[in-house]
Structures are given as C-alpha cells and as structure tokens.
C-alpha cells in the first residue's frame, strides 16, 4: 500500500462524566490513502465521529482526554500540535464538513464573506476581488444557482441543501488534501441528499482530495466509498474494500448491520435486527465488545475474555476483521 496521507495509530479517547469514564474510542487504527474515499461507518456510540474530531482537536478537553495514540498527517503527528499550527492545518490542507450547516455557519456573515474569509485566512496575500472571484467560482462548482446573488445572502436565507453546498464550497476553497465529512447528509431530506451526493462527487473530482466520509448511512457508503472502516463500541471491527465489505463481510456486526436494513426491494418480510442493545461505553463488556449480541459467538469463551485483534482474513490481505471466528462467516457464503 502506498504511503497514506493520514494514519491513525492506536488512538484512545476518554470522556469524564458524572456516571464515570466513557471509553469513546479504544485502540483505533486506520489509514487514509491519497485520493480515496474512506467510509467510516457505525451507529451511535461507535466512536466514528469522536475519532476524527479528536484528530482535528475539536473535542472539548476537559471533559475529553486523548489517552494515547498518534495521527500522522504529512509526517506530523496532529495530536501533538497546538494552537496556530493546528489551525493552519484545519480549513487548509484538512477541511471539514459538518452535519448541521446551520450551526457551523456564522449567522451574521454572508456566505460570500465566510468563504472569502476561509480563503484569506490560509492565503493572506489573496486580494479582495480575487477572493470574490474564487468564491463565485466555488459556489457555481457546488451547484448554487445565481451564485453572484447568493454570495451576498445570509445563512438563514438559504435552505438546508443550499447551506450544505455553501459549507462544501468553504471546505474545498483551499484545495484541501483531506476532506472530512461528518454525517454530511443526515439532516437532509432524501431528494436533497441525492443532490448533495452529486456535489460531493464533484468536489472530489475538482480537488482530488482524500475524503473521510463518516456516516451511519450504508447507502451513502455504497455510493461513494472506496474502502470502509466499520466501528462498534469505540473500536474498529472491520476494514476492507467497499465491494468486499458489502459482498463478503467478515465480522458478525457488519453482517448483521447489512442484514438488518429495510431494503427498498424486499417488501413485507420480517426484518432481521441485531438483537440486544449497544453496550455501555462506561462499563463495556469484557472481551469482544460485540459478543453479547453475536449469534456467531455462541457463547464461546474466547469471545468473552479476549478482545480480538484486527487481522487479515480469507477475503483478502487488505480485508481485516477483529473477530476470533472471521473465517466462519466466509464458510457460510
């Protein structure tokens, strides 16, 4: 594998709360290759957002705490950066798109001003008119009609879909090499999601950036991702090529997740949920975090006592799974 642009190694993040210490992320490692779309999929409590947010210094410390690990970006460990050096990376080479554009856009500045500010913060030598020209070009790229007029509007004057486009424009303004999209379509209607999907594809074509796509929506992953990281209870449970993951999952959680979806095609049949509830992150179960809900485990002792390591499977050297019995899933196919 060529050298990754961003590599997380053994990241562990905890939060102090009144009920105890929340182990939000435990021993998470994954790599982002240049130009690829890496989907990080998991449900609530999986740690998918926290892992990326802590890399960018966006979690509140306290109550948060990065216990250990490193995040190597272009040779530097982002977790060791502070203040100005971190700010130079954020919004420049590494840009973020958040779930709720309304709370990430400044309500008292026009869209044009905000995008312009993003440009001049990272390239102070840019003149005002040059910034304006680029702003309009970016808005057109993300499909905002009447860009000239829209640039002078305030966030509250735009619809949800428009705001998300504006945020994407802001994110790609400085030609980032990494674009982190945290649930970019979750708050949007499905017809608007379809629009934004096209915008994200256009953004990637334009910047050739590597995209980290954090979402619980398997459909979005199916549309965009090249590789997938599956997370559960703060750990990585499976990594692989998107086709391989969907077609030949090697972790019971991934398989269960794929199976439990309500599909548009299949009608009427009973759904196949994953039994049980997600575990407490304050008192996680011993051994494999998924074992209380795992049908494949069948109560075997090793699942209850030993946390499985992420290792290669029979589905390929690049297809990793943290399951003691990953091969059994393959046998069943």
């Amino acid at each position: 594998m060529p050298d990754p642009i961003l590599a997380l190694r053994d990241l562990t993040v905890e939060f102090d709360t009144e009920d105890g210490v929340v182990h939000a992320v435990t021993g998470v490692s994954y790599e982002l290759q240049r130009g690829e779309v890496l989907g990080i999929v998991g449900e609530s409590g999986s740690g998918k957002s926290v892992s990326m947010l802590s890399v960018l210094g966006l979690i509140p410390v306290p109550p948060g705490r990065i216990v250990s690990g490193e995040a190597i970006f272009e040779g530097e460990d982002l977790l060791k950066l502070r203040g100005r050096r971190l700010r130079r990376i954020r919004g420049g080479p590494v840009a973020m798109i958040f779930q709720d554009p309304m709370s990430s856009l400044n309500p008292v500045l026009t869209i044009g001003d905000q995008i312009g500010e993003a440009i001049t913060t990272h390239a102070p030598e840019t003149g005002e008119s040059a910034a304006r020209t680029r702003t309009i070009a970016l808005l057109e790229l993300v499909g905002v009609p009447a860009a000239e007029r829209r640039a002078d509007q305030y966030p509250h004057e735009l619809s949800g879909g428009m705001r998300q486009r504006a945020m994407i424009a802001m994110a790609i303004a400085n030609d980032p090499s990494v674009l982190v999209a945290d649930e970019p379509t979750t708050a949007l209607d499905v017809t608007i999601q379809a629009q934004i999907l096209e915008v994200l594809k256009a953004a990637q074509r334009e910047t050739h950036a590597a995209i980290v796509l954090i979402t619980h929506d398997l459909g979005l992953i199916a549309e965009l991702a090249d590789r997938v990281v599956v997370m559960y209870a703060g750990r990585v449970v499976e990594i692989g090529d998107v086709f391989s993951i969907f077609d030949a999952p090697r972790h019971p959680y991934t398989a269960g997740l794929l199976r439990s979806r309500a599909r548009l095609e299949a009608e009427g049949a009973e759904l196949e949920p994953i039994p049980g509830q997600p575990p407490s992150l304050i008192t996680p179960p011993p051994g494999c975090p998924f074992h209380p809900r795992c049908e494949q485990s069948r109560g075997r002792e090793i699942c209850r006592t030993e946390v499985p390591e992420l290792r290669a499977t029979d589905a390929g050297a690049e297809h990793l799974s943290a399951c003691h019995f990953a091969e059994e899933l393959g046998a069943r196919e």
Partner: protein, 335 residues
C-alpha cells in the same frame, strides 16, 4: 373491512405574525386539503419530506392541533367540533407514538409512572390491577418489568421508543398514529422496533397510520401508501402500486433518490435529481405545487391544480396532469 378513520378536506394553517402589533401577515399552509381513509386493521403509510405536512396531519388527527377546516371522522364519530373534555373518552381508542425517544418521555418520571399515566388519567389505575397492567405492557413491548423504576435517561433510544409504544397501548387503542417512530433510531435498532410494531398489530388487532420519510421502512410496514408534498397528497395507492408503478413525478423522484443497497449498483440506476428547493409553504406555487421542481412542468401546471384521481389507465389516484408510469430502468422496474 370497515373504515376506522376518514379525513375529509383537512386543512391546518399556522398564522404568520409580524410587526409591533403581531398582525397576521400570512399563513403557513402546512396541511392544505387532505382526504384519507384508513380501514380497520390495515397500515396506511404517509411519506413525504420535511415541510410536506405529514407530522402536522398526524397531530391534527389526534387533535393535538385543532384543524383549520375539514373533518376528521373516527369510528363513525366526527371529532372536529369536540372540545378537550369531549375528546377524553375518544383518546382511549386513538393514540400516538412520537418520533423523538429523548423528548417524548418526561425525564423526571420513572418509566413505570410514564406508562401508568394514561391509566391514572382515566381512573383505571387501581392498586394491584394497575401495577400488573403496567408490567404486562412492559413485557408486551419486550422490556424487563424489573426496570420499571428506572428513569428514561437510563435506557437506550430503542428502549425508550418501546416505552413510548407501551404508553400508547396502555388504554387499548384501536388506531395508533405513529409519527416517524423509528427515524431517530440506529438502523439495527429500527429493525427491532419495526418488527415489534408488526407483531403488535397482529396480536392486538391494531390499525396504524405510519408517518415516515424513509421509503424503505414504509414499504415494509404499509398496506397502502399516501405520498405528500407541500400540504397535499399527490399520489395514493397500494404498496405495490406506489413502489412498482408510481405515476407522479415526485414519487418517482423520491424513489429514485433512495440510496442504493450495494456498491455494485453504482451507476446502474438513472437517478432523478430534482432541481431547486421546496417552495415556501406560506406561498405555495399556483396550480400544481410541484411544478417548480418538475421536469414535466408546462403552462397547464401553473394554471390548473391537478385533482387526485386515477389517470392514464392507472388504478390509483394521482395528482398530475402528465402522470405516467416511467418506462426506464428505475422505480418502475423494481420487483
């Protein structure tokens, strides 16, 4: 099968006030003339995106909102003119489950008290009998009655939704309005709650009005489906009709926008991407409301609002002047 609920020309407008004197300057036409019928024992799915009025419709039916115009006839009785006091006995048969598992349970009450509350309100919680009924309800929804003394924040989202369902079932209703009951839950938990609702419908002989924006879920639970846009129903039919032969352009766009199931389907579907945004519900477009985003729009669409009637040889009502089943490889060709 007899009719359990009939909604006739239901209208709900919210006034927009502005100025120092809070004068009414306009109305948000959230529900703007909706007709629906639900037969006993079936599930009617109502789908649409934000701003279509489906949530307002659901709340108006249980009279949490007073209709601005139109009629709601439940089990043969006209609910529209009833005041709060007169509605009370009706509420034993007509209940609602809310969307947000975190906001629909009072954080200061134990879950036992939450589920017992409807019983208490109607004087049905008597000592041992009431307690047993609550425990029974817990078991019905798949929760351990021993945890009844806990507080909502100690439960997960899926469990809280079950508590909400238990509460709604306490008075043994006949019709349950489900307002996006699984939208706020994780996918793997959605399946649990959907199965639960399915099972309960059979066991308890319930009728459902299932409001949602997720078309895949709606397909699983519904017998018939109504598609809403900007306060009106644009298409209505059986599950098969809507999902395999949709005729309204909005329905077709909606179905084509549903994310694919697997990466192998990439590029396989001709996706309809709608232009523009949903218009302002306070000033909907003239004629057909969907025309501003519709690729088929013509002059007629701006002049005349299409009626919801069967068209073009189809059997189910569609509100479009140019309704037709799409011949290409998308919604129409799904199994």
């Amino acid at each position: 099968m007899s009719e359990i609920l009939r909604v006739e020309s239901l209208v709900k407008h919210f006034p927009l006030k502005a100025g120092v004197f809070r004068r009414t300057v306009g109305h948000i036409r959230a529900v703007d003339g909706v007709d629906l019928t639900i037969r006993r024992g079936e599930t009617l799915g109502v789908v649409g995106e934000s701003g279509c009025g489906k949530t307002t419709l659901g709340r108006a039916i249980v009279k949490l909102l007073e209709p601005s115009a139109g009629r709601i006839v439940f089990e043969g009785r006209d609910l529209t003119p009833l005041n709060r006091r007169q509605m009370r006995p009706v509420r034993r048969d007509l209940q609602i489950v809310f969307q947000d598992p975190y906001g629909s349970l009072n954080p200061r009450m134990t879950v036992r008290e939450i589920v017992a509350e409807p019983l208490r309100i109607h004087g049905l919680y008597r000592g041992g009998g009431g307690k047993r009924r609550v425990e029974e309800l817990f078991e019905t929804v798949g929760l351990n009655p021993e945890h009844a003394n806990r507080f909502p924040h100690e439960f997960s989202g899926g469990q809280r939704q079950r508590i909400g369902v238990a509460r709604a079932l306490a008075l043994e209703p006949n019709l349950l309005v489900l307002d996006e009951p699984v939208s706020a839950l994780d996918v793997s938990i959605q399946a649990q709650v959907v199965n639960l609702l399915d099972r309960l419908q059979t066991e308890l002989g319930l009728t459902y009005l299932f409001i949602a924006h997720d078309l895949s879920v709606v397909r699983h639970v519904s017998d018939r489906v109504a598609v809403m846009y900007l306060g009106k129903v644009v298409e209505e039919g059986t599950r098969a009709q809507i999902y395999t032969a949709p005729m309204h352009p909005y329905t077709q766009a909606l179905l084509s926008a549903v994310p694919i199931d697997s990466p192998t389907e990439r590029g396989g579907r001709a996706r309809i991407v709608l232009e523009g945004d949903v218009p302002n519900p306070a000033s909907p477009p003239s004629g057909c409301r969907f025309r501003t985003r519709c690729w088929k729009a013509q002059e007629l669409c701006a002049q005349e609002e299409p009626a919801l009637v069967p068209r073009a040889g189809g059997e189910h009502p569609v509100a479009c002047h140019f309704a037709e089943v799409l011949p290409t490889s998308d919604a129409a060709s799904r199994r």
